[in-house]
């Protein structure tokens, strides 16, 4: 009898559990909610939620926002298991493009207000989200790459001027080197597997500005060999900036480049006397400038100029990146939210909080909180040839190989040919598996 008592005591609650859950399964769908997943956490999450607030207040639709720093793992698993969110914003559109090719995300052409979209965005932004003739991705906030930061006061003290052309920049760097100071600060460390990515930024900007959008597109698609003259030329141009053969133009030399974190890489600009005068990084770096030196003010203490055009016919070409929205599940609420997120009214909320730039033509330049982001927004609006960050579009294997190649190149520029040969091998297999 005792045995039965034990057995029953275990079975009854288990049964109860399964029955209640089983019943709950059928009745689903909270009317009027949208599930959104993205990488924005902490202060970014607070900013995004304040963007959603007016939408929730005016429509009554509840947005369930989830943030995760491991977006590709979570998204891949959920999509494969048949439990995707309604909308996702990914900083790496390659993943979303893959989903689009597999038919896991929905084409937006007849889902969102296209005439509004065309009014708000220049064609190059719409092209960025178009795959096989259909629109799959739209952008709310983006950032501009290839900004050269400099210490304004140190520049004035030495009466250096902002270079207008690439040749001017090369002249400037030898002028700085003549005074016994290294002209550049370059920092490629990021933490483990991501090491080297800031170097790939250099490379992309040079490829686009030197060889133009067609080569760039072929390079992204994997049909332009790494050992081809155009890509090799990009490496050697970068080598010219670093100091041919020996990285002697950079503070700390090749050891300094590979061992300095990108977060602190620009700080030697602000020592007295400066250890370097120029630093190439995307717009977010100002946060780290001010973290290290809280007294620094934009424009009076630090400012930037876009990487000068290398080939005149490709003037105004810039590499951009941003978080792309994709729709996994179509519902009236999801459409409404996506329409809202492509309006200037929504984007301007985060723009005012700082750190983000809106690609929307209707976003007033006055809404940028500081002159620096206003200036980069101006450049972004004027961009003639906008191309998405190349390595973010390449398959994961190709991307990591490219990052590693940047480290290898900086360590020993003489090995360029063997580095490019290795990249060609990766290119031959990486595109097949994805």
């Amino acid at each position: 009898m005792r045995a039965k008592w034990y057995r029953r005591s275990l079975i009854v609650p288990l049964m109860a559990l399964f029955v209640t859950v089983g019943c709950a399964g059928g009745s689903t769908q909270n009317a009027g909610s949208v599930k959104v997943i993205a990488e924005w956490a902490s202060t970014e999450q607070a900013n995004f939620l304040s963007v959603l607030k007016p939408f929730e207040d005016s429509t009554g639709i509840k947005v369930q926002y989830e943030s995760t720093r491991d977006l590709s793992a979570v998204l891949r698993t959920r999509v494969a298991a048949g439990n995707p969110p309604d909308l996702a914003a990914a900083p790496n559109p390659q993943l979303l493009t893959q989903f689009a090719q597999q038919g896991k995300v929905i084409a937006l052409d007849d889902k969102i207000d296209m005439s509004q979209l065309k009014q708000n965005y220049s064609q190059s932004w719409i092209d960025l989200g178009t795959i096989n003739g259909k629109l799959y991705q739209v952008y709310s906030w983006v950032s501009l790459k290839g900004l050269i930061w400099y210490n304004v006061k140190a520049f004035q003290a030495k009466s250096y001027t902002v270079p207008k052309t690439f040749d001017d920049m090369v002249t400037l760097q030898s002028q700085i080197k003549g005074t016994g100071t290294t002209p550049w600060c370059v920092a490629l460390k990021s933490g483990g597997a991501d090491d080297g990515w800031p170097g790939s930024d250099w490379l992309k900007e040079i490829v686009l500005s030197q060889s133009g959008p067609d080569v760039y597109d072929k390079w992204v698609a994997g049909t332009q060999k790494w050992s081809s003259p155009e890509i090799k030329a990009a490496f050697t141009t970068w080598g010219k900036v670093l100091g041919p053969g020996d990285d002697s133009n950079v503070f700390g030399g090749s050891k300094g480049i590979t061992n300095t974190s990108f977060k602190t890489g620009g700080n030697p600009l602000f020592t007295n006397p400066p250890k370097c005068y120029l630093h190439n990084q995307a717009s977010f770096i100002t946060t780290f400038f001010q973290e290290a030196n809280p007294n620094l003010q934009p424009v009076t203490d630090f400012n930037f100029f876009p990487l000068p055009d290398i080939t005149a016919s490709y003037a105004g070409a810039h590499v951009v990146s941003g978080d792309a929205w994709s729709m996994f599940h179509d519902s009236p609420q999801t459409r409404k939210l996506l329409n809202y997120l492509t309006t200037a009214n929504a984007q301007v909320i985060w723009v005012k909080k700082g750190g983000k730039i809106s690609p929307n033509k209707q976003t007033p330049l006055d809404s940028y909180p500081d002159p620096i982001s206003k200036e980069s927004a101006q450049i972004l609006v004027d961009t003639k040839i906008g191309k998405y960050d190349a390595t973010d579009l390449m398959p994961a294997d190709m991307r990591s190989a490219a990052w590693k190649a940047c480290l290898d190149f900086v360590t020993n520029q003489g090995k360029l040919d063997s580095i490019l040969a290795t990249l060609d091998q990766v290119q031959a297999t990486a595109y097949k598996s994805s």
């Binding site: 005792r2 369930q64 989830e66 698993t77 298991a81």
Partner: protein
Amino acid sequence: MLEQSNLGQAFFNSFMIAIPATVLPVTIGAFAAYAFAWMNFPGRNYIFLALVGLLAVPLQLTFIPVLHFYVQNLHWTTDNLEATGIPGLPWVPLWLAHAGYGLPFSIYLLANFFRALPSDLFESAEIDGAGTLTVFFRLVMPLSVPAIASLVIFQFLWVWNDLLVALIYVGSSAEVAPMTVNLANLTTSLGAGSNLLTAAAFFSMIVPLIVFLSLQRYFVRGILAGSVKG
């Protein structure tokens, strides 16, 4: 700080996840281990071998099929489970998943421990008229407290510190996410905010410390001293 980043809620969630996810595999594991150690049934060794083999399966491999089963066959999405309004229900998939991941190890550990108990004990208990369950609850369990305590520590620490399994099965909405998920979200996508991370990580560390310190005396206690007389 506690209010602003939902740390209090996450702390509670972590307990709600870790306690059942420890109790379940340890309880089931103890029953199963006893059967493997002291009961005779056909194929016992082969089943045991298969279970030990499961130790080598990386749990990442199971995410997609298990989640697919939850979502497609049982309709156990966090939304559906929350909609029932029964507190604790959204964590059921996670509890079962953790139990599944923990079972091979707990059965393996306990079965080896149970096997080492002297067979005289079981014979004399049988002569005294004890049934299987009486032997289990009155004899095996009290004698195995050190092994069970160490297993509880292992399992609790693993579940408490787990980020990925929780992220996959319950997601990161504030109502259900544990401490680890919350901590990971304290930094922005560019790594700003790491100062908060160290403070919060210390907060999350306190619990495993307490668990370890309060159970560690069982590790050193004499195991079978004086249990078999004459």
